[in-house]
């Protein structure tokens, strides 16, 4: 499994648990979870590209 998909899987589990902890209604949980998952993915993607020019 690639780094990207492992990150997506990790983000999915974290978003799921936080959304269920923070919201009580299934519809709200879904909305919050989707927003968190999107936020994690976009942030990681942007940070990945920002770090791209820097050598290890």
């Amino acid at each position: 499994m690639s780094h990207f998909w492992l990150m997506a899987l990790f983000a999915f589990f974290v978003s799921l648990v936080f959304a269920v902890l923070l919201r009580d209604e299934p519809r709200e949980q879904l909305k919050t979870g989707a927003m968190m998952l999107g936020g994690f993915m976009v942030t990681a993607y942007v940070l990945g590209w920002l770090m791209y020019p820097f050598p290890l």
């Binding site: 492992l6 899987l9 990790f10 589990f13 799921l16 648990v17 269920v20 902890l21």
Partner: protein, 136 residues
């Protein structure tokens, strides 16, 4: 201007200490069990499936279950995080899983999944405590 709440105005603890201990202990041992015990079926079932699955993926990715080694603070903290998942941790140790393969590409990913599953379960325990106290 809003007034500050005083101790007398705050809601009182609605649960007995013994019951709180049982809820928290069960929530630690079996992820989601605290919520199930308190009648939060949907939340409990999601935690019951998601957290052990996340822990299992960590093992599958060849992550390591850290020993309680006080000489290395980071390893010690990792060990605490690992133990947060409760019964799945002891089951994994009993099955000799979680030895960790440092040379594996997925080793660090595995560690991240294992530790995060335990840490998330700590949050679930705190949430179950709040529910038992009548705060949520």
């Amino acid at each position: 201007m809003g007034s500050k709440s005083t101790t007398a105005e705050r809601p009182r603890a609605s649960a007995e200490p013994g019951r709180l201990a049982i809820v928290c202990g069960l929530a630690w041992l079996i992820p989601g069990a605290g919520h199930l015990l308190l009648g939060r079926r949907q939340k409990g079932l999601i935690f019951l499936v998601a957290l052990p699955l996340m822990f299992g993926i960590g093992l599958w990715l060849q992550g390591r279950l850290f020993p309680l080694d006080m000489s290395d603070p980071l390893v010690f903290l990792g060990a605490i995080a690992n133990r947060g998942i409760g019964a799945p941790y002891f089951l994994a140790r009993w099955m000799d899983a979680g030895a960790g393969t440092v040379t594996a590409v997925s080793y660090e990913y595995g560690n991240t999944f294992l530790m995060t599953a335990g840490l998330l379960n700590f949050l679930v325990i705190v949430d179950a405590f709040d529910v038992a106290m009548g705060r949520k």
